[in-house]
Amino acid sequence: MSVVAVIRPDSWNFPLFLHVLGAMILVGGLLTGVAALATAKGSERLLRLGYWSLLAVSLPGWILMRIGAQWIATKEHWDDVPDDLIPAWLNIGFLIADIGGLVLLLSLILGGVGVYRMREGKGVGLLKATLVLSFIALAAYVVAVWAMAGKPD
């Protein structure tokens, strides 16, 4: 694998950079969102901070990560490889990226309604659901990073 890394064509580097940077921003937003929502203890400021971390940081990070992923996959011609020859690490990465994106989207929808309800004084139950979903997404992306870097056979 180290040999592959050394001889990676230069033209692959920028898409890879975008992919990794987007993933790091995504994880940073999720980490902040989870930390703020988990430590809020009813503080509206922290609950809003948690939600906006997911919306304004994690979501753009996910988009950047996913665009970079598709770009580098296309450059590496993975689209032309039969499904049964696709390596496990790539399948794990794409699966978690997409399912994690859906979980993030669901957490944003629930969180958006939750912030609205909180403003109306109707409780913060939906923001607790947002915390659980964003924690699941964060844990899933840790597994994805492990798979993309460790490249299991």
């Binding site: 993933a23 790091m24 994880v27 980490l31 503080s43 901070l49 690490w89 056979d153």
Partner: protein
């Protein structure tokens, strides 16, 4: 169960540590932006829980990247510790650690002031606290930290002179 070699485990943990480091820097950016509107001791101290998560992530990230990175430089086939891109990364890591420590000291002024105000029974908005929470010096240092970490990421991907 997928098979992963020991060196690939180390590489995966090294990359996860890098994610932890950059995630913490992202977290602190969010706190910096949020802190600019906070002028009460209670509001300032409320951010402490999130900041502690960031501190833990920085610690894991900083130690994990350098220790596992040096391990990999010696262990991984095709790489050597004296490779230019690895030496550049090590120098940048020490720069990031130094700037990060200074940044943390500057941003601790806000919570310190908030604690003083609370101890003095002043719980309302305070202009001096707001000014401390809006520290330009802290923002400049965090910009520098962010640039250094971006340079490390670029160095890791492009591997100049490899």
């Amino acid at each position: 169960m997928p098979r992963v070699s020991f060196d690939d485990w180390m590489l995966a943990l090294h990359v996860l540590a890098a994610f932890s480091y950059v995630a913490a820097v992202t977290l602190f950016w969010i706190l910096i932006v949020a802190g600019r509107r906070i002028d009460t001791p209670e509001g300032t101290l409320r951010l402490g829980g999130v900041a502690r998560v960031g501190n833990a992530a920085v610690g894991i990230g900083a130690v994990g990247t350098i220790v596992l990175g040096i391990w990999l430089a010696f262990s991984y086939g095709g790489y050597d510790i004296w490779d230019a891109w690895i030496l550049i990364a090590i120098v940048l890591w020490f720069l990031a650690a130094g700037v990060g420590r200074r940044t943390g000291e500057v941003f601790l002024e806000g919570p310190k002031k908030a604690q003083e105000l609370e101890a003095a029974g002043q719980t309302g908005p305070n202009a001096e606290l707001l000014a401390i929470n809006r520290t330009q010096r802290g923002v400049q240092l965090h910009v520098l930290s962010t640039i250094i970490l971006l340079l490390i990421l670029i160095d890791m991907i492009w591997k100049p002179w490899a």
